[in-house]
């Protein structure tokens, strides 16, 4: 292989490249949209150039910048959570969406929207959704990890089946909520089911994003431990890893990241599945590289996907969850075929 390409499999060069990619995705996300805004004006609005008029400035700062920030952070959260779950459960198909964590979080959030006023929960204000969402993620994570244990070990196939059931139940719950909801609440529901980066603004981001960001930064510190865990739980323990503590800690971080992501943007499927697989295909399964690289690529890809979703059929905006599922579904099938064909995982 070309030495330049080969060097891009090493941690530092690859992460630098992916960081640049995320930066480019953010820049194009700021510049692209129905209102034509030049690169110079973007810089101006960000305070990095000559002043611009207030319409341009508020378009950038109040409409596009929050979306780009959401794309980066939610994409990173979903991708790094997917990579971590796949490691914890030693299952390349464990994705927060597939195993039901996202839909559990969404159901709790939707229930809070629809039933919240009646239950007198309005006092929680903008904390209500994230809290409900974290709670839903926690309950489903516990449920799935308990139910997928067979003889004390987590069984990959069992886990997907449990996830299937949890997704069906959550989907039914959300459908039920849609049935009883009316007017504005109903519109909000479609957002939860298909995801959007355009619903929340700075106040919601400020309330939830720090928790998500913290989880995204902490997960990659467990790379060596996750590598050892892939040998098997007993083997990891023999190597000196405190397996139960590691699993509890990572599951907590994942549900904070996913719960927060769902609270901000609704269900966005497949990012947690596709991104880590792409990194593994390119650079191998070493978590010390996989985790940070997944976060960077996830942020870049979701930002690009959102830019595409709101510009490709403008002025109509495609739901971003529909877009990621359109790409992710076939990818998932290809992944299954490949796993079957090789009898191995990346």
């Amino acid at each position: 292989m070309n030495p330049l390409l080969a060097s891009l499999r090493r941690p530092l060069p690859l992460c630098l490249l992916l960081g640049l990619l995320a930066l480019a995705a953010a820049a194009s996300g700021l510049a692209a949209g129905p209102a034509a805004i030049s690169g110079g004006e973007v810089l101006g609005a960000l305070g990095l150039g000559p002043g611009v008029d207030s319409t341009v400035s508020s378009t950038i700062l109040q409409l596009r910048l929050p979306r780009v920030a959401l794309g980066l952070i939610v994409g990173a959260a979903l991708a790094v959570s997917g990579a971590a779950m796949q490691g914890v459960f030693r299952n390349p198909l464990a994705d927060p969406g597939l195993v039901g964590v996202s839909s559990g979080a969404a159901l709790a959030a939707v229930a809070a929207i629809v039933l919240g006023p009646a239950l007198g929960l309005a006092f929680a204000g903008r904390w209500l959704l994230p809290l409900a969402s974290f709670g839903g993620a926690a309950v489903t994570t516990l449920l799935v990890s308990r139910l997928s244990r067979v003889d004390g070990a987590t069984q990959p196939a069992q886990m997907l089946l449990v996830g299937l059931a949890v997704n069906a139940i959550s989907g039914a719950g959300i459908g039920l909520m849609a049935h009883v909801a009316s007017g504005p609440a109903l519109r909000a529901l479609t957002f939860w089911m298909y995801g959007s980066l355009g619903r929340v603004g700075w106040p919601e981001i400020a309330a939830t994003a720090p928790v998500v960001a913290l989880a995204v930064l902490l997960i990659p510190t467990q790379g060596r431990e996750l590598n050892a865990l892939l040998l098997g739980e007993a083997e990891a323990a023999h190597l000196g890893v405190d397996v139960e503590r590691l699993k509890r800690w990572l599951v907590l971080l994942v549900l904070l990241a996913v719960g927060g992501a769902v609270a901000l943007t609704g269900i966005i499927a497949f990012v947690g599945l596709i991104v880590p697989q792409l990194i593994r295909l390119w650079a191998g399964p070493d978590h010390r590289l996989l985790l940070p690289a997944s976060a960077l690529l996830g942020g870049a890809l979701l930002t690009v996907a959102d830019t595409v979703a709101r510009t490709v059929a403008a002025p109509i905006e495609l739901p971003i969850g529909v877009l990621t599922a359109l790409i992710g579904g076939p990818f998932f099938i290809a992944l299954l075929l490949r796993l079957r064909g090789r009898g191995e995982t990346w």
Binding site: N227, E235, T345
Partner: protein, 276 residues
């Protein structure tokens, strides 16, 4: 001064009221290869898991260099004893070299070049140096077993530097059926390597099915039957025809061949004894 051994003393382990191990004592001494023989289900793997610290005895105790196993931190334990599992389940595409490097999780203490040298040498000793860059899941069963063997050797490559206790840096290697997926030559290669490793100050415990391998490569042997020790002592003195027949419930003959100090254990299925 505390005993520098890995020792089970009167250890019992029950599951659902059934005695998997009943007052088993075993002392693993650095420098020795200790074989564990017995029929399927006799408790050999349970004994190994007990010595590894995977399970706690309900009666009796297990001590590592004089200190109860749970009193060591996971990392301190990992620097002193390594465990080769009976089966492996790694399906992610690490290279063989990366798998062996994982063995250094708790023991890494050198510059990266030195650490890499240890990994290479372990691969060499396990006879899989040429597979270093191959993807682990693409290896054959026997090749994977040898890579795992290299990994556990790398884990306790040198005496621990944590100074957690004055324990002479004694280390222990627990092998659960290390020869199960190996061809004839590699079975001998593996146990020969285990012997050499023992000579460097490591106590090696090997669960084996072939009494011939035990005779040739072990200093001491423990024979288990239904969770109880039915024989324990220097291998060549202990492994008599009678003991083997009783243990396996099958007709046994010890054949002496010219020029060989060791007899060959031959089974005669036709003379099977009524199973107990």
């Amino acid at each position: 001064m505390a005993a520098v051994t890995l020792a089970a003393e009167q250890a019992s382990y029950r599951v659902d009221g059934r005695n998997l191990l009943d007052q088993v004592s075993l002392i693993l001494v650095p420098g020795e290869v200790h074989a564990v023989l017995g029929r399927n289900g006799a408790g050999k793997s349970t004994l190994l898991r007990l010595l590894a610290g995977d399970i706690q005895p309900q009666g009796g105790s297990v001590t590592l260099n004089g200190r109860a196993l749970p009193a060591w931190t996971p990392r301190e334990r990992a620097r002193r004893r390594a465990v080769l599992p009976q089966s492996e389940s790694l399906r992610f595409g690490f290279s063989a070299e990366q798998v062996v490097a994982m063995g250094r999780y708790a023991s890494a203490q050198h510059r990266p070049e030195v650490e890499q040298g240890i990994v290479r040498e372990a691969l060499q000793l396990a006879g899989v140096a040429d597979l270093a860059q191959r993807r682990y899941p693409s290896l054959s069963g026997g090749e994977r077993a040898r890579v795992q063997f290299a990994r556990v050797m790398a884990q306790i490559w040198e005496p621990p530097a944590d100074g957690a206790a004055k324990d002479d840096g004694a280390r222990y290697l627990l092998l659960d059926e290390p020869t199960a997926s190996l061809d004839l030559a590699h079975q001998h290669g593996c146990l020969l390597q285990a012997r050499r490793f023992a000579a460097s100050g490591v106590g090696v415990l090997a669960v084996l099915h072939d009494p011939n391998l035990a005779l040739r490569y072990s200093d001491r042997v423990t024979v288990l039957e239904n969770g109880r020790v039915t024989g324990q002592g220097p291998t060549r003195e202990l492994l008599s025809r009678e003991l083997l027949e009783r243990t396996y419930g099958i007709g046994i003959e010890l054949v002496h061949t010219a020029g060989e100090a060791l007899p060959v254990v031959v089974a005669h299925p036709a003379n099977s004894l009524p199973s107990s």
